[in-house]
């Protein structure tokens, strides 16, 4: 089933970490397997933020040497940062296996990213100037608490509670998806894409990499490909309805925008609230109520509807 949510504050920042956590927690019944957040903070010029992991949560219960192996993998990642000339500003341990690095770098970012992901178990969850992508197993409150998201100041965010239907219950298959190596694009999705393999092969022929077998990842890669080829976010969303088959509703965030698209059948839910300074959208109204308890005007977007909002 899965639950998706998005929130954007126009022209201001707020404690978006807590807000999205509350929205997603109210959608827990739509999918308890994993929860993910893509949160957009205030970008700092010439600085990058990278979220990555060197193991899956389930790996922690396997093998005699896993704790030592994780340290070794991280040490290799650190040495590769040094080797490529990145200047580390800070390192935070979100969990034993997932980290947040702030750094400056003048070289080829894509090459650096590929070099890091070459380390065994390493997967970059997000890399950009504003985006921070956090996902793990458990409900929203658990993951948010684990990664210290309460109090996170930002302009916009998207999130996802997952009921695994098409792929495994692990961090790799959890949403949101980030489209490597394009900065600051994230996607959450509710539905099934029926021409996934066809589209994936087309994207792979164009040089894109896929880190999972989850159909939702296609939407992130597809969006990144379109934006990289000069399309606007609105054009990309509109074309996806023509080119991608299945039943789906998905939400995309970029460094300064939030967008959504609904398939031709309108088979997957979405409720929208829009005011002058805030836009909130979710699979169910109960998530919007977690944010705005008073009576408000909300509505369901129709089939083939595409919307984009600026932060």
């Amino acid at each position: 089933m899965c639950g998706i949510a998005g929130l954007i504050h126009r022209g201001t920042t707020a404690d978006i970490g807590t807000e999205v956590t509350n929205m997603l927690q109210s959608l827990k019944h739509r999918g308890p397997d994993s929860t993910g957040f893509a949160i957009y903070g205030q970008p700092v010029a010439d600085e990058y933020v990278m979220r990555f992991k060197v193991a899956e949560q389930e790996d922690m219960a396997t093998g005699f040497r896993i704790h030592d192996e994780i340290k070794e993998r991280r040490a290799i990642v650190d040495s590769r940062f040094d080797e490529k000339g990145a200047v580390m500003l800070s390192q935070e341990d979100a969990t034993e296996y997932a980290y947040r690095y702030r750094f400056t770098f003048d070289g080829d970012l894509e090459q650096l990213a590929r070099y890091i992901e070459d380390v065994e178990g390493a997967e970059i969850l997000s890399l950009g100037s504003g985006l921070e992508l956090i996902k793990d197993l458990g409900d929203a409150t658990t993951v948010s608490g684990q990664y210290g998201l309460n109090g996170f100041q930002g302009t916009h965010a998207i999130g996802h509670t997952r009921m695994a239907t098409e792929s495994d219950v692990d961090i790799r298959s959890a949403h949101p998806y980030w489209a490597y190596p394009y900065n600051d694009i994230s996607v959450v999705h509710n539905g099934q894409i029926t021409n996934y393999w066809l589209m994936r092969r087309e994207m792979e022929r164009r040089g894109h990499r896929f880190m999972s077998n989850c159909d939702s990842e296609l939407l992130a890669v597809y969006t990144a490909d379109k934006l990289n080829n000069g399309y606007t976010l609105e054009e990309s969303l509109a074309q996806s309805i023509e080119e991608i088959d299945g039943v789906f509703t998905y939400v995309v965030a970029t460094a300064d925008c939030l967008g959504m698209a609904k398939d031709t059948m309108a088979a997957k839910p979405m409720v929208l609230y829009e005011s002058e300074d805030t836009v909130a959208l979710a699979s169910e109204e109960v998530a919007i109520r977690a944010l705005i308890p008073e009576e408000i005007e909300t509505y369901d977007p129709y089939d083939e509807e595409v919307r984009v909002w600026q932060a």
Binding site: A266, E284, E285, V286, R289, E295, E297, D300, Y302
Partner: protein, 282 residues
């Protein structure tokens, strides 16, 4: 139509008839003048003047429904539920007369499977509001989600705002009235009853409908398979005016601009089947 009584003719013209295939095709007529006879073993004898209200904010969904039941059991005929919080399945399975006032919004399956109550919801409703309703009235003041009135069997279901897709899917009777627009595939596989949309209708309206009538005041993006325009009669106009006025949704310019959509009945190919097979198909 020849061979029918005046009452049956009136019923036929109003689109309130259906066919029952039981060995051979028989037309069964619903009497517009028939009184509402709904009595259930689990229904409660309530007094409309006995009023109660409670705050649902701190209660689980099951506790809210149990509280409504307890109040009905003690004879309360007017119940106000405050702060429902857009949660699912509130007010389901009420089988007696009741004035139920929902002060707020409901989530999925709100007031489903009901038979008799008059419900007023001040906020919006999520998917499948009043699904399988047998009788009563449900009035939603704001917007509604998709599959509004799914498999409706009787009563009046009204949304003053817009609703989502597949409104009245599989409806088997009753009336759905939408003050605003409705989405794609509204009236999908509709079998009986009437749907009135004051605004626009999305694509594939009335797709694969067996029977029933859809009235649309705005634009229709496209008709679905086997949905065809019908001829508006004086009876249709009179019914529309009366029904829309009842819920204060009658447009200032009247109902002359409404279009009528009915089933083309070209999909009724199961009429070629043997009598025993017809039962299986249905």
């Amino acid at each position: 139509m020849a061979g029918l009584s005046d009452q049956d003719n009136e019923s036929y013209e109003m689109g309130m008839h259906t066919e029952q295939l039981a060995g051979r095709t028989q037309e069964i007529f619903f009497s517009p003048r028939e009184g509402e006879n709904f009595v259930h073993p689990d229904s409660f004898d309530v007094d409309f003047d006995k009023r109660a209200e409670f705050d649902a904010a701190g209660l689980e969904i099951a506790e809210i429904n149990l509280k409504i039941r307890e109040l009905m059991e003690s004879g309360h005929g007017t119940i106000v539920v405050r702060n429902p919080g857009a949660r699912h399945s509130i007010g389901v399975g009420i089988l007696n007369r009741l004035n139920l006032i929902i002060d707020g919004s409901l989530g999925y399956f709100g007031v489903g499977l009901i038979d008799g109550p008059n419900v007023r919801i001040s906020g919006r409703v999520g998917w499948s509001c009043a699904e399988n309703m047998m009788a009563g009235t449900v009035v939603v003041e704001k917007n509604g989600g998709s599959t509004f009135g799914a498999a409706l069997r009787g009563g009046d279901l009204v949304c003053r705002g817009a609703v989502g897709s597949r409104t009245g899917i599989d409806m088997k009777g009753g009336t759905i009235i939408v003050g605003g627009d409705t989405g794609a595939y509204s009236g999908f596989m509709m079998q009986r009853g009437r749907m009135v949309v004051c605004g626009n209708a999305g694509k594939n309206l009335g797709d694969s409908m067996y029977d029933g009538t859809i009235f649309v005041g705005g634009e229709i993006r496209s008709l679905g398979v086997d949905a065809v325009p019908g001829e508006m009669t004086d009876l249709d106009r009179a019914w529309l005016e009366r029904k829309l006025a009842m819920y204060e949704l009658l447009p200032s310019r009247g109902v002359g601009h409404f279009q009528k959509i009915v089933a083309g009945k070209q999909l009724w190919n199961y009429d070629n089947l043997e009598p025993t097979e017809k039962k299986i198909v249905l």
